[in-house]
């Protein structure tokens, strides 16, 4: 399947903190390698969120530096070597915090958007 070109409009620039949160969430369900993570995010978001690989790998290395994920070289099903990432306990903590913050943000923005102007 060819990548539809109009997806360009739908590529949402993901903020750095948000990307971290999505990666950590994806890793909640078990360890994955970089390609799988980007595919998972795309799939779960209904093809809306396409993570730029230019942001993915730096983000993964940053997370590793912060010790929120751990990496390991393993074999994939097709017998290729790939680097698998797994979330750590500290990472889980961080994910929780990020989620809380996100929910607060959503509630706040929702509050503003839901304001109905007083009828004149």
């Amino acid at each position: 399947m060819m990548m539809p070109k109009e997806n360009y409009k739908n590529r949402i620039e993901l903020l750095q903190g948000t990307l971290d949160m999505l990666i950590l969430q994806t890793l909640q369900w078990g360890e994955q390698h970089g390609y799988a993570i980007s595919q998972a995010i795309r799939a779960h978001s209904g093809d809306v969120l396409q993570v730029e690989t230019g942001s993915l790998y730096p983000a993964l290395h940053r997370l590793e530096r912060q010790k929120w994920v751990k990496s390991e070289w393993k074999q994939t099903e097709s017998n290729q070597r790939a680097k698998y990432y797994r979330i750590t306990a500290a990472g889980k903590e961080q994910l929780m915090q990020n989620r809380n913050r996100w929910e607060q943000m959503v509630a706040a923005i929702g509050g503003v958007l839901a304001t109905v102007p007083d009828a004149e």
């Binding site: 970089g34 690989t53 230019g54 790998y57 070597r81």
Partner: protein, 891 residues
């Protein structure tokens, strides 16, 4: 390295990602090549991704630095002439201050080997009237009063050097030593403890009257030299001048007091006698050194002692002597070690070397600027690709550091080499107790110098390159656009600065050279060619009670005269300009015949009749000594012109002094003055001649008043021979050894060398300044040439157009020469102003020439101008030979 491993892991990870993306696409039906292309396109900029990912690791700055380093190395290797020019320039500029600083450090900054040496001061009796020549030795009674009453000192000690030459008998032979009589508390005042054995003090408050008279303390040098460092020497007896002493202690290595000895030192306790119980002119005097109490300043102590001395001086019976000792003079001990003359000279040379360094830096900046503008396009491309300003600046600074490091390594080598080359000259004028080699402080200085040089030279080009606008440089033909006008002016300014600084250095050099010339042409009053001089230290203790004239000197002289090739030989207490020994004669007015009431103070010397044939002294009147002067005939004296001028009965005719009666030198007969020598210089050529009196050695007997100082301490043999020094020395040494074994170790030299050595440090300074000045000239000319060559190459198109429009070739030549001329004129003008302003610094060093001597200034300025114009001729000719067709073609 882990880092490299991580790097390759990242590469593998991304490669794996790409393959998986590819595989998925192939599954979806694309062909493998298309899949690959699409996967790569989707991925984006692989290199950028890798970079950003690596950045997350945090060591990017190091990686960038290494990158810059590698790139700089590559660039420099591609342009070897540029690199070698810059490195050579920097090497020159860094070598000079390094070498000078090493010398200054050794001579002036070296710490003294005493505890808390800053609190040690020397104290002297002084006269309130500074015009009297009083040497400031203090009698015992005075210093005891100071010790008793003064509250500013922790303790005071005193010392004196034993008279005459002293010889220590050791296992390896008899050697000359410096022998000191000291108070028992001297070592504790200095705060140093012997490494073996004990100090002199037998009780806590020992000062002068306690302590074992026959005990002696050796210095480490004497111990190692004479006794092979054998610790069992402690407690044994050794002989100094034939007198036995018991060794009680050995001082640590590196300890010396007084600080700059010429021979190994030993110390014994001063023996106070009856003579010390008085206060007259004849009382023996001592040098006093004291340790200030903590918190007491030298000014406070001086004020206290000055007040005290007023009381103490009342103890002097003679009014004139009282006047001479009516106050005191105090000085930190460390200040007395380097005479201010030498200090000033060293500071001046240090300043000159710093000037050379500055010139080298300016030159390097110029070269780097030129290079930066040649690389404009490359820098613009970098900027367009996203390099930040700091990144570009960093690149340049790294390059500068690389060049600077190379330059300083070579410069260090040059500095060490030059110190070795000049070691002989340096040792003449400064006594350096340790060999001259670099140590941690020099290395530190070198490091700082390297970094500062790099920053200074490369910051400006770097900054300019980084802030240059990107688009003009990328345009076609941008290299020859007029945007470089401002840069040309900047570089011209730098060249002007170089010229000015070089001129200053060269003027200093020129002045010193004229000084040397003047010194060399001072008429000496005697011949110096083909004279061999042997400098003897006399072990007089072996000849006690004998008549040394008849037993030692005259036979020795006979034997020397009979050596093959010796045309004439003579003895003299000290050869002129010898600076190894002198005696001063002070007579009170009532002992001279006709000049009753006039005090006489003159240098005293002794000579044998043969001296006239050796030196060829010029006589103003009368005659020299000859064979008729024997111990039984009329005692005679010769004086010099300065003496005759002062003491002649007739001021107009100095020869009237001949025939004057003088005081007794032997027995009851009065002495006659029989001749007047023309003036000779005694100490240095620059100093005027002092009054001198000479007695004939043949007439001196142990009964003469002057026998002891003139014959028993030192004697020089001078002989005229056509043989060269090396061949005659062994024979001389053998003759001396037969006379007495201790004499075999004497020093041999030639009269020419003695005169050379007496020129003082002007010679050394002149050589150094010659080198500095020459290097400055070289750098300056190279800088000018470089700038003009560059300008011409930048303007080839313009020059082609001019030629095509009808300009003559000589017009173009003149244009370039004129540009050079303007730069030179401005530089020379500023340089002259600088040179005149700094003339004050060198004034004290000059002889026979003024600091702003117009002739020197003019010559140097003209030389610099001419050389500069000559250097400009080459680029000018190249400009004139531009082929218009070549120049006008598109690049």
């Amino acid at each position: 390295m882990r880092w490299l491993q991580k790097k390759s892991e990242l590469d593998a990870e991304i490669e794996a990602h790409m393959r998986m993306a590819e595989a998925e696409r192939v599954e979806c039906g694309e062909s493998p090549e298309q899949a690959r292309r699409e996967a790569e396109r989707e991925f984006g900029n692989v290199a950028l991704v890798k970079d950003v990912a690596r950045e997350a690791w945090g060591w990017m700055w190091l990686e960038r630095l290494v990158q810059d380093l590698k790139y700089a190395l590559r660039q420099l290797r591609k342009s070897p002439t540029f690199a070698s020019t810059v490195i050579a320039t920097l090497a020159l500029g860094i070598a000079a201050p390094t070498a000078m600083f090493t010398i200054v450090d050794r001579v002036m900054l070296r710490p003294l080997p005493y505890k808390d040496a800053g609190r040690l001061v020397e104290i002297k009796d002084w006269s309130s009237d500074v015009s009297t020549h009083y040497f400031g030795h203090t009698p015992y009674l005075d210093l005891e009063e100071w010790r008793r009453w003064s509250k500013s000192f922790e303790s005071i000690s005193f010392y004196t050097q034993a008279n005459g030459r002293n010889f220590l008998e050791g296992k390896t032979g008899t050697e000359i030593i410096n022998f000191y009589n000291v108070s028992t508390n001297l070592f504790s005042v200095l705060g140093v403890v012997p490494q073996l054995g004990r100090d002199f003090r037998s009780e806590k408050d020992g000062f002068a009257k306690s302590g074992d008279a026959s005990s002696i303390v050796l210095s480490d040098t004497a111990w190692r030299l004479m006794f092979g460092g054998d610790p069992s020497i402690l407690g044994k007896s050794v002989k100094v001048n034939g007198v036995p002493y018991v060794v009680v202690g050995i001082m640590p290595r590196g300890f010396a007091f007084p600080f700059q000895p010429k021979a190994p030192q030993v110390w014994t306790i001063v023996q106070l006698g009856d003579k010390d119980s008085g206060r007259t002119d004849a009382t023996p005097g001592y040098e006093v050194i004291g340790r200030l109490k903590k918190g007491v300043s030298q000014a406070q102590a001086t004020a206290e002692l000055k007040a005290l001395q007023v009381q103490v001086a009342k103890g002097y019976a003679d009014a004139e002597v009282r006047e001479q000792r009516s106050t005191i003079w105090m000085n930190p001990y460390s200040d007395s070690l380097v005479d201010s003359d030498m200090q000033r000279a060293l500071m001046m040379l240090l300043a000159a070397s710093a000037l050379l360094w500055l010139i080298a830096c300016v030159n390097t900046t110029n070269l780097l600027l030129a290079r930066a503008s040649a690389r404009q396009r490359e820098i613009a491309v970098r900027g367009a690709l996203g390099a930040g300003h700091w990144r570009i600046v960093q690149q340049f600074v790294v390059e500068g550091l690389l060049l600077s490091t190379g330059g300083s390594l070579i410069g260090l080598g040059m500095a060490l080499l030059s110190i070795k080359l000049f070691a002989y000259g340096i040792k003449q004028h400064m006594v350096m107790p340790v060999p001259i080699a670099p140590d941690i402080r020099i290395m530190l200085l070198l490091l700082v110098l390297t970094i500062i040089t790099a920053l200074l030279s490369s910051i400006w080009p770097a900054w300019m390159a980084a802030h240059a606008p990107v688009e003009p440089a990328l345009k076609q033909g941008g290299l020859q656009s007029g945007s470089a006008q401002k840069q040309h002016r900047l570089r011209g300014l730098l060249v002007v600065v170089e010229i000015a600084l070089s001129l200053t250095l060269l003027v200093g050099c020129g002045l010193l050279l004229r000084t040397i010339y003047a010194l060399r042409h001072v008429p000496l009053g005697f011949r110096t060619d083909h004279i061999v001089v042997a400098n003897l230290q006399i072990p007089s203790y072996k000849f006690k009670g004998e008549n040394m004239t008849s037993n030692l000197y005259l036979p020795l002289l006979e034997r020397v005269k009979h050596l093959p090739g010796v045309q004439a030989a003579g003895l003299m207490s000290e050869v002129p300009l010898g600076n190894t020994f002198n005696v001063i004669l002070n007579l009170n007015g009532d002992t001279t015949g006709k000049n009753a009431g006039k005090d006489i103070s003159a240098q005293l010397n002794a000579g044998s009749p043969g001296l006239q044939k050796v030196f060829g002294f010029k006589m103003l009147a009368g005659r020299f000594f000859n064979e008729e002067d024997t111990p039984t005939s009329q005692p005679v004296l010769i004086v010099n012109r300065a003496f005759a001028k002062l003491y002649s009965p007739d001021q107009q005719d100095m020869s009237k002094v001949v025939g004057m009666d003088f005081w007794h030198i032997s027995g009851d007969k009065r002495t006659k003055i029989i001749g007047v020598l023309d003036d000779m210089h005694q100490k240095t050529i620059a100093d005027a001649s002092m009054p001198e009196v000479e007695a004939s050695i043949t007439q001196l007997t142990p009964g003469s008043g002057v026998y002891q100082p003139l014959e028993t301490i030192a004697m020089d043999i001078a002989l005229r021979t056509n043989r060269d020094l090396q061949s005659i020395i062994p024979e001389l040494r053998e003759v001396l050894r037969q006379a007495d074994p201790a004499l075999a170790g004497s020093n041999f030299t030639t009269m020419d060398q003695v005169v050379e050595d007496s020129y003082g440090s002007q010679q050394l300074a002149a050589h150094l300044l010659e080198i500095f000045g020459g290097s400055a000239l070289l750098l300056c000319v190279a800088g000018l040439y470089g700038l003009l060559a560059y300008i011409v190459s930048q303007r080839t198109r313009e020059l082609g157009v001019r030629l095509a429009l009808g300009a003559q070739r000589c017009n173009l030549l003149w244009m370039v020469m004129r540009q050079a001329g303007v730069l030179l004129l401005i530089g020379v003008f500023i340089g002259l102003a600088l040179a005149i302003a700094s003339g004050r610094l060198v004034r004290s060093y000059l002889y026979g020439v003024e600091a702003h001597d117009a002739w020197t200034l003019g010559c140097v300025a003209a030389t610099l101008f001419v050389v500069g114009m000559a250097a400009a001729y080459l680029p000018a000719r190249r400009a004139a030979n531009v082929d218009p067709m070549e120049a006008l073609r598109a690049e």
